[in-house]
Subunit: 197 residues, 2 copies
Amino acid sequence: MSRKNRTDVVAAASVMFAEQGFHGTSMRDLAKKLGLMGSSLYSHVVSKDELLVDVVREASSRFQTLADEVATMPGTAIQRLSRLVHGHLQILVKDPHQARTFLNETRFLPEPERDTAVAMFDRYQRAYRDVLSSGCNSGEFRSDLDVHLAANLVLSLLNGTQRWFNADGALSVESLASEVHRLLTLGLNPDPEANAA
Amino acid sequence: MSRKNRTDVVAAASVMFAEQGFHGTSMRDLAKKLGLMGSSLYSHVVSKDELLVDVVREASSRFQTLADEVATMPGTAIQRLSRLVHGHLQILVKDPHQARTFLNETRFLPEPERDTAVAMFDRYQRAYRDVLSSGCNSGEFRSDLDVHLAANLVLSLLNGTQRWFNADGALSVESLASEVHRLLTLGLNPDPEANAA
DNA sequence: CCTACCGATCGGTAGG
DNA sequence: CCTACCGATCGGTAGG
C-alpha cells in the first residue's frame, strides 16, 4: 500500500458510494478501505460532498463525449441509435461503480452541482431525441412515435441493465448491446427481416 | 393532526426513504414530518430497520399478487405480457414512494429480510420468463429469444419509468403502458400490422 | 406520546 | 499522513 493521491480516494469513493450509498458511507469507512485514518482524507479533499461531485462529473463527461460523437456522426438513424446503445452500455460496464453512483446518488449532490448534473443529462437525452426524430422523418422508425417518451424508454432500458448485468458473466457487453438494439428496433415479435444491427 | 398509528408511520417512512434514501433519513427527520418527537416513533416500531422491512414487504406482496394472477390467466402470451406491463406500471404509479423505496433501498435491508426480498423478486421475474417462453413456443415471439435476458430487459424498462414518469402529467399510466407494450412487441420500426395491444 | 438521556458515530479541524 | 479532538447528530432506552 503506497501513498494515496486524490484519484485513488475518488476511485475508492465511487466503489463505496455505489455499494453502500452516499449517506451509507462514512469518511472513516472510506479511509479504512484505503488503509488510512479518517482525517487523512482531508488532505486530498475538502469535504465528503466534493468526492460525490468528482465521481458524478467524470461520469457526466463520458456521457457527454458520447453524445457529441453521435451528434456529428454520419449514417442512418438506426446506425446512430446503435452507437448510442453500444456506447452507453460500454460506459456503464467500463466503470460500473462510477456509473451506479452517477445513476443513484446524483440526487444527493449539493446545489448548484445537482442542477448542473441534471442539465447535463437533459442535454445527453437530447441526443436520443434527435436520433429518434430523424429516424421518424427518414421512415426508419414509426412516424407516430412520441419522441420524448421513446427517448425516456430507451434510456430506462439502458440504465436498468446496470442493476443486473455482470461484465464477468457469460454474456459480453457487445452481445448485450446487440440484443438491446434488436429489441428496440424489432421488438419481441418474429420478423423475417431480422438482424438490423 | 390526530394521533398516529403504525400505518401512518410506515407511510411517512416510505415517502422519506424514497426521497432521501434509507441512510439519508433519520428517525428525527421522520418524526418531524409526523409532528412527533423522535423517541415517540418507538412506541409504533421497534427499530428503523423494521420500517424498511414493512415498506419492502408491502411492495413485494403487490408484485407477487400480480405474478400469481398472470400465472393462472388464460390468453395468448401477448395478452399476458400486456397484463404484466400494465399491472407492473400500475403498482409503480399507485404508490410511487413505496415503489421507489422497494427498488432503491431493498439492498439496505438487514438479513434475512434482504434475502427474502431478493428471492421474492426472482420468483416475480419467473412470471416474465414463463410468459416469454410460452410466446416463443406459440410463435408469438422470436424463437431465438434469450428468455432470461429478455425478462431482465423488460423489467429494466418497466422499473426505469419510475425515475421520470409523473402520474400528474399529461401522459396517463394506461397510455404509458400501451406505449411500452408496443415498443416491446413491435419495436421502433414501422410496421403495417400495428396495434397488437 | 413527551422529557431526559445514553454511548456511538458523524463530518470535519488543529497542529504537527 | 497521524494524533487528538470538536460540536452535532445518530439510533435507541427509561420512565412516566
